[in-house]
């Protein structure tokens, strides 16, 4: 599907204010409401617009610690990635699993209620994951930019 300027305007507005009604979006993107609705439908049908998800505010739910664990795997075992990821998925505190091409193989984004809880999850659930050869942690201090905009 080829996007025109109106599609791009509409997507920019949608990314900025996902909760807006179709009427509000139409006004901001300079479209009529029926046109806006049709274009959204077209973006959905083309698989570009997959949906809308609520982002949970874990701090408000009592999770004060967020850590990015950057992991290098022992790749002499051809199943290292699959087995590591399958086990990491079972850790409830893991929010994201990303794989990379670079110095780091896998990254886990992990939350915990406090440092004591983090220590417990780290020792009992993370260090016991298979095929880890090296691991480093980045403690998350704050989100400077998080709206995930796109240069459309």
């Amino acid at each position: 599907m080829r996007l025109d300027d109106s599609d791009r305007r509409l997507l920019r507005q949608l990314i900025a204010t996902p909760e807006a009604s179709t009427a509000e979006l139409a006004a901001r993107a300079g479209l009529t409401e029926p046109t806006c609705w049709r274009r959204l439908e077209r973006l959905r049908a083309a698989g570009i617009l997959r949906g809308q998800r609520a982002v949970i505010n874990w701090r408000a739910l009592g999770y004060q610690v967020e850590v990015s664990l950057r992991i290098t795997l022992d790749k002499t075992d051809p199943h290292a990635f699959d087995e590591f990821i399958a086990r990491a998925r079972q850790v409830p505190e893991v929010l994201e699993i990303q794989t990379f091409l670079g110095r780091v193989d896998v990254r886990l984004n992990l939350i915990a209620r406090d440092m004591a809880h983090y220590q417990q999850v780290y020792r009992d659930r993370v260090l016991t994951l298979p095929h880890i050869s090296d691991l480093e942690a980045l403690m998350h201090l704050s989100d400077v930019k998080s709206e995930a905009n796109l240069p459309l």
Binding site: M1, L3, L11, L14, I15, P18, E19, A46, G47, I48, L49, R50, G51, Q52, R53, A54, V55, I56, N57, W58, A60, L61, G62, Y63, S68, I85, R89, P92, E93, V94, L95, E96, I97, Q98, T99, F100, L101, G102, R103, V104, R107, I111, E136, A137, L138, M139, H140, L141, S142, D143, V144, K145, S146, E147, A148, N149, L150, P151, L152
Partner: protein
């Protein structure tokens, strides 16, 4: 801090999959009346349990084939203002997220690009010219999976 029961957790789990569902359809899935669902959603919203909504887009279909995570260390700590760096890096359109972190790096950036040569252009012209930027480490994203978390 907001206390959650099992129904609240199920509601949060459902809207983190699809945030466009009405109170009526959420209620039907969880065996709640529409007013009860609405009241619970209102309490969750007002208690700050929902940070925001995120639009889920197929980046490859939009022509963004490359996502790179950059670890950035500031070169002259103490001399360069963190606020100056943060303002400049946040203004780069290709930089989707900026996290201030403690560890091997000072900042973690998520950058989207059309392809690797587009990424090289962003890195050279926009990232490496930022005030106070020191060492930069890059990892190209291959796959990404989001999980519901402890709900």
């Amino acid at each position: 801090m907001i206390d959650l029961d099992a129904t609240d957790r199920a509601l949060l789990r459902a809207i983190s999959e699809d945030a466009t569902q009405s109170a009526g359809s959420l209620g039907r899935k969880l065996g709640l009346s529409q007013p009860a669902t609405w009241r619970r959603m209102k309490r969750l919203r007002e208690g700050g349990a929902i940070a925001r909504h995120r639009v889920d887009l197929d980046l490859a279909a939009l022509g963004f084939d490359v996502t790179v995570f950059l670890g950035v260390s500031l070169a002259a700590k103490g001399r360069v203002s963190l606020a100056d760096f943060e303002r400049a890096v946040s203004a780069i359109p290709e930089v989707q997220t900026v996290q201030h972190v403690l560890g091997l790096y000072d900042y973690r950036l998520r950058v989207v690009a059309r392809d690797l040569s587009d990424f090289e252009r962003i890195l050279r012209r926009r990232i490496l010219t930022l005030p106070g930027v020191g060492a930069v480490d890059a990892n190209v994203l291959l796959s990404e999976e989001r999980l519901p978390g402890p709900l």
